[in-house]
Amino acid sequence: MTSPATPGAALPKLDPRDWESHPKYIYSGYKSTAKRGPLQPLIPLKASLGELQQPVYGHSSIGEFDHDLTRNARRNGEPIGERMILTGQVFDERRRPVRNTLVELWQANASGRYVHKVDQHDAPLDPNFLGAGRCLTDDEGRYRFLTIKPGAYPWGNHPNAWRPQHIHLSLFGQHFASRLVTQMYFPGDPLLQYDPMVTGTPEKYRNRLIADFSLDITEPDFALGYQFDIVLRGADETPFENR
């Protein structure tokens, strides 16, 4: 396989961002977008992929329990809540697995409270739960976390606004431009229809944000299983397969 692209070499071409699949920068239902989303049109940039490779540094720093949120912050016992497995495959747009890429995760605890100091929601913190984890995808592009199902929580966007239960995910993919920050939701959550993060996403593609419950992934007497596959922008060849 070829080595990482060097300037002047024949370079693979990155698939364009599929703008139809993503929320617009400004969405009236989500108040904070009004003063934070860019208003000027984006300027097309045709950059070489050589300079846009994913970061190599950081992949060596995955700890033994980083993928296990039921263990990575224990102090005096197990975290409270419904244990769940979150797993899935990361693909590029040509359905090739994205290997050895970093997946970072953060979420509220079972009662809908974030450890974050800014979160003032009147629900209990869990001394044995941080809510952060990370892992690398394997040779099939698969990631796997063991965690606690997060609770819903209120927020100030509009009267009686509640965020549906969700898990935040951050991925790099193989290129700087394949970066994705997203949120995973749970099937059948009645709050989905009221949530501006969800409704701000084009309707045709919202279901890509909702995990499947899976009895195959569910482990008897232990934890419920959810599958959430993720598709990132790809390129017309895979220049970094050797890494």
Partner: protein
């Protein structure tokens, strides 16, 4: 494959990073008991290049500095080279990638410790690639940082020249030399008269 991707295959939609990313993505910087794979130190002592501090603030449409943005940068070293593996990055003391939130500095700055990048190819001006994300941004934004002391190279750079002249200054970091140290200032304006140029990469 999960059912949605079986019947409706394609890019997973972006969602906002939200207000509570700090303990997940930048835990050490914010004082949480978890490490982070990337931080604001891009270059260690061994790295090749002129040592610089890169700092700036992120402003919303009302001109208020944003305290819950996260900035990620990617750049080559002073010779225009990216590390090709973790081992290469360690050997060269150059990580090429940095991450910093704006919530731990009294002035709401991001501050990176790095080297000034070299040009990667003839005809390209030295630059740093930037990802901007925050609560209220449903999709992260890409921009680039060029350097005020590279006027000749900037004038030849195809990407910079593709930007309307009036908006080019939003992409130029200003060099300041203080007590023998080199600082580049680069503010990001999400909106307004000086809205930073963001790219469709």
């Amino acid at each position: 494959m999960m059912s949605a991707q079986e019947t409706n295959f394609g890019q997973t939609p972006s969602q906002t990073v939200g207000p509570y990313f700090a303990y997940g993505l930048t835990a050490t910087q914010y004082g949480y008991d978890f490490d982070q794979p990337f931080d604001a130190t891009v270059a260690l002592d061994a790295a090749v290049g002129e040592r610089i501090r890169l700092e700036g603030r992120v402003f919303d449409g009302d001109g208020n500095a944003i305290f819950d943005a996260m900035i990620e940068i990617s750049q080559p070293d002073g010779e225009g080279r990216y590390p090709q593996s973790v081992e290469d990055a360690q050997a060269r003391g150059f990580r090429a990638f940095g991450r910093c939130g704006t919530g731990t500095d009294a002035q709401k700055r991001f501050v990176f410790h790095t080297v000034k990048p070299g040009a990667e190819a003839p005809g390209e001006a030295p630059h740093i690639n930037v990802i901007v994300t925050m609560r209220g941004l449903l999709l992260h934004a890409f921009t680039r940082i060029y350097f005020s002391d590279e006027a000749a190279a900037n004038a030849e750079d195809a990407v910079l020249q593709s930007v309307p002249a009036a908006r080019r200054p939003t992409l130029i970091a200003q060099r300041v030399e203080q007590d023998g140290a080199v600082l580049y200032r680069f503010d990001i304006h999400m909106q307004g008269a000086n809205e930073t140029v963001f790219f469709d990469v």
